[in-house]
Amino acid sequence: MPKDHGIGASTKRREDIRFLTGRGVYTDDMALHGQTAAVFVRSNVAHGRIKSIDTAKAAAMPGVLAIFTGEDFKDVGGNPAGWLINSRDGTPMREPKRPVLAHGKVRHVGDAYAAVIAETYSQARDAAEQLAEDSVIEELPAIVDMKAAVADASNRVHDEIPDNVCFDWGWIEDNRAAVDAAMKAAPHVVTLNLVNNRLIPNAMEPRASIGEYNPGTGDYKLTTTSQNPHLTRLLVAAFVLGIPENKLTVVAPDVGGGFGSKIYHYGEEALVLAAAKRLGRPVRWTAERSESFLTDAHGRDHVTKIELGCTKDGEILAIRTETLANVGAYLSNFSTATPTFLHGTLMSGPYKVPHVYVNVKTVFTNTAPVDAYRGAGRPEATYSLERVIDQMCRELGLDPFEVRRKNLLTPDQFPYQSPVGLLYDTGNYQATLDKAVQMADVAGFEKRAAESKARGKLRGMGLSTWIEACGIAPSNLVGILGSRVGLFDAATVRVNATGNISVMVGAHSHGQGHETVFAQIVAEKLGIPESSVDIVHGDTSKIPFGMGSYGSRSLAVCGTAMTKAVDKIIAKGKKIAAHMLEASEGDISFEDGKFSVAGTDKAKTFGEIAFSAYVPHNYPLETLEPGLEETAFYDPANFTYPAGAYICEVEVDEGTGKVDVVAFHCADDFGNVMNPMIVEGQVHGGVGQGIGQALMEFTTYDETGQLLTGSYMDYPMPRAEDVPFYNVDYSCQTPCTHNPLGVKGCGEAGAIGSPPAVVNAVIDALHRGGHTHVKHIDMPVSPSRVWSAING
């Protein structure tokens, strides 16, 4: 029997009630007395010098209350990059200032250089259009293509950065010569040139922010679409506006998806705060979808050459990659970590590879900033590896399943120190591969292929075996790697006098279901009903200083903090019970919600202990504090390492080039699973996004830097008809060895493992159909690309 409550149960989500009845409260749903509306004036050229902005006419228009330009923010700080990366030669990265509003130059289409605040949104919009008319921007040649950006030193995104390169990073630089030698000595070398296509995250809720300021107290409040309110508060207060943190509250209420794009601090958040202070009234802004397309941090955008040295029977000897990674016009907060430490450290995958070297040059261009998007660096690494391994199999006539089996680490090799800096604690990659093979009925493939052929379709099967490093943190490690922040998390467990519980957590739920899952864990540990536990998140004035949700970290990091705080509650409860039962603390045990004296029938319920904590009559106050509330901070010893094997089957229409994903099987190892229903849902969503990347989604800037895919009519989002049902299994579990819940994280797996499985399946189908000249097709593997490859 599956459990019906507590850890491991598929408890239905409590947050669904409000979302299904229209009672969720997202940022734009809030109306405030005296509110005003902000509209941004955005550059319509990719690269230009701001010659003049004449505000007179706009300022005189009906309802206009204030106008801001870059001049207003030239003396405050910039929005910083969170990680300092050094180049191979030891020099620090080039780090241009990212201002609240563009000043001097505009650097991408959508770069905001002014903002209008008016009584109503329509008035602000009308005046913003006037202001755009009255601004003179001298257009400069746009820098769009990364190779051209690096080659042409005369044309610069930032005037002070001569070759548009942020850094040239080698991982691990000291190993370079050995890797080169191993590659040279390898009996066979496979080379692939790959594009990891640029994606636009497209959380369905557009970004929105409301700034408030109380002149009577000097307190600011920012309500905003954030995955991490404390991180946003730190950035906007300490780095940009110089507000003391204790005078700024940041609230991230219901947030409609993030996928990375809402990790970062954006200039609009600083603007609404500054404007609220100037006007003494609330200032609100909500992005239109076109603003989201132009200004949300995009994802991926790598151009990679990968080489793999191997024996003739498919043993991998060495891997070497060279990547150009686009960072766009400015450095977004995680933009320097994503193509480096979230990418290079994964380049040996789940395999035993003796020699690996990764080189990444990050390049400024006149495009929107690029940063972490679901998976963040790890999908790029996995795609490169899994594509080149398939190519190796093709060149050497080897079976892709057998080759992976031959190279996978075996369970006896853990803990495993990878050649690119990670220490994998545990895993069983053979088990997930075996499981996937069984789920996909690989043995029956030929029969299915024959059926497809009878219907005029080419059928192909693609495999990827992958690993990811999740639960980001370890502050010690990320500090060595260049992080400027700590990456711990925190939770406070407050037992109320009547025994129900409020848990304040640093993690933020924007679709993941923390309010349900976290309550399951607390309820199980304390032996009380889930309905007695409420999870509070998203408000810096209520929650302890935690770092929010991204990098599949919520449960592994914040969940562990919460577990530790619960342990402290139990320890305190034992003290109280010892006092109440006149026993020694060491004799008290806690089980099923009861504190008992060993070897007697004397016991107190959890509720009695809670009540006593707040009605502390007769307490020995010098040794026992009243109250029952505990906080724990937790900083893990290592990353977690989810892994798995994905098998995709596609059908290709040779006449049109259209690819249909007809089956998708996921065998995941997430360690222990707290709520199977939610875990499956996370995998579904990740795979859906991965299929989108593999087959549909592309971001196109023309040579002048105009975004051609700036609406849902141009940017193909996967819709219900574009994807199949997914077959998900999580029964292969090697619990994480360094957190008490044994959890690894499941949020990004689907988006990491799926794109290479899809593309491998397409290439397999084409080869089976006799199109053996097709070595590779870049993502998105669209009908026109497939047709051209077949007929090219």
């Binding site: 969720g24 734009d28 959380a203 369905m204 219901d254 409609g256 076109s290 579904h684 009519m713 049902f725």
Partner: protein, 161 residues
């Protein structure tokens, strides 16, 4: 400004609107019914779907003044009279058919319109009908399952092929 009157979730309402006021804005800002969401402004994402005289429409692309006298139903009007979840809403919760919840109101309103037209839709019927509703969280698996289950079909064995 123009005066508009309509019935929303069975209640007579009226308000002053500009000619350019969209039905979505009138519902959200005029009536405080913020369950109807705006995700794209271009009739593509479907987060704003409501029913007008029984038909699903994208309320971000309809002027408030154009629905004068109509009967409008929003997500706030979908629960049972006692406040409990309706069959379709309950099915979304039972089958985890939502994550962040932002597309959900439009998804439920579209699915309700489908079931009114086609009480026992196939998987393909559901996927085709929901083509105008984008979800970024769920990969659609559990949405399709929720809608089929709400129509009384056994969804326990659904997987690809």
């Amino acid at each position: 400004m123009t005066k508009v009157s309509m019935t929303v979730n069975g209640k007579a309402v009226s308000g002053e609107v500009e000619g350019r006021t969209l039905l979505s804005s009138f519902l959200r800002e005029g009536l405080g019914l913020t369950g109807t969401h705006v995700g794209c402004d271009t009739s593509q994402c479907g987060a704003c779907v409501v029913h007008v005289d029984g038909q699903p429409v994208k309320s971000c692309t309809v002027f408030a003044a154009d629905v004068e006298g109509a009967a409008v139903k929003t997500i706030e009007g979908m629960a049972n009279a006692d406040g409990s979840l309706g069959v379709l809403q309950q099915s979304f919760q039972d089958h985890h058919g939502l994550q962040c919840g932002f597309c959900t109101p439009g998804m439920v309103m579209s699915a309700a319109a489908l079931l009114a037209e086609n009480p026992r839709p196939t998987e393909q019927d559901v996927r085709h009908y929901l083509d105008g509703n984008i979800c970024r969280c769920t990969g659609y698996h559990n949405i399709v399952k929720s809608v089929m289950a709400a129509s009384g079909q056994d969804v326990s064995a659904l997987a690809a092929e």
